[in-house]
């Protein structure tokens, strides 16, 4: 175990606090959108990723690299959570997702329930690869290069995913006429 000098420890804590402050909102938002509106799990995932980032802080002098690594951790943790949810659904009778469902429901009740549910269902209908890059690039504002680094995939692959994801989302939500003269919008 490495023991830091007091000044170094203070500096490390300050750096971590700044990192959390900068990425807290986007980390939760990214996880929330990838998890289908599950607030509690999204915050849990974000905290897991921050804990890992804290442990890895000394390995990254460059905060940009730490940030990329952090979102890779976040996305992988989301993947694992989604995988467990899928496994639980397949093993019906053994497990329930009541807490998750209630939390997602409570969150949506405070907003436009129907619209959010429809968007969540449409996102859920995408493949994992499509959903992840759609959320990162189109909803969270990552560049294609950043998303490629986070997801560990080639930009060309992500472009293909984005194209298909957008086409699928537009088809699934066509009846809402989103973006057309504010009809069906938030």
């Amino acid at each position: 175990m490495t023991v830091l000098a007091p000044d170094a420890a203070v500096e490390r804590e300050a750096r971590f606090r700044a990192f959390v402050a900068e990425h807290r909102e986007q980390a939760v938002s990214t996880a929330w959108r990838m998890l289908g509106g599950d607030r509690a799990t999204a915050e849990d995932v974000a905290q897991d990723a921050f804990v890992r980032a804290y442990r890895a802080l000394d390995s990254f002098r460059d905060d940009a690299r730490l940030s990329t690594w952090f979102y890779r951790i976040l996305v992988r943790t989301v993947q694992n959570r989604r995988r467990w949810f899928a496994i639980r659904r397949r093993w019906q009778g053994l497990f329930t997702d009541e807490a998750k469902t209630e939390d997602a429901h409570a969150t949506m009740m405070r907003r436009d329930v129907g619209l959010q549910r429809r968007i969540g269902e449409a996102l859920d209908g995408l493949s994992a690869g499509q959903r992840e890059v759609f959320v990162l690039v189109y909803l969270e504002g990552f560049t294609l290069t950043e998303a490629a680094e986070v997801l560990g995939k080639a930009p060309g692959t992500l472009k293909s995913h984005l194209h298909r994801a957008l086409k699928s989302m537009r088809a699934q939500l066509a009846d809402l006429r989103l973006g057309e003269d504010d009809e069906g919008g938030a």
Binding site: V51, F95, T143, G179, A186
Partner: protein, 167 residues
Amino acid sequence: MRDDDRQRDDLRSDDRAFLDAVRDAYRPEPTNAAAFDRALRQRLAGGARRSIFAWGGGLALAATAAAALVIGLRATEAPPPSPARPDGGPAVSLSEVVAALDVEQALDVEADEALAAPDDEADDEAADDVFLALTVLEDAPEDEVGFADDTLPDDYLALGDLLDVTL
């Protein structure tokens, strides 16, 4: 911005309007920063609660391990006839993985094929099976499966890396 980053700029205006509407409608409530940071500090201090999910995962492990054992025992009595399920499901089933004498070979051959293009439902389910089988076989906390000393494989679905970690 690099040329290959100009994803939104390259879109038609109606696509951009659609995406703007989706983004505005589908966003979480703002995070309670103080509560979030408080919980994070508790975790870092080591006195944190186990996450809700971890408890759920623990229960899931216990139950699935028992179920997998039953399936595995059945499978030893009557070996699975085919990699493909009659219902057209994933090529790799839990029972096949658990019952396989040479788990690594089964995963190498069948899972790699199933996961080569993990973008349809069957492949996702195959990935679920492999993930679960690895977890059950190793009796490891789910959070540790797929992560070795916080070093991530380049391919987030690289089962080879998972195998190296767990088998």
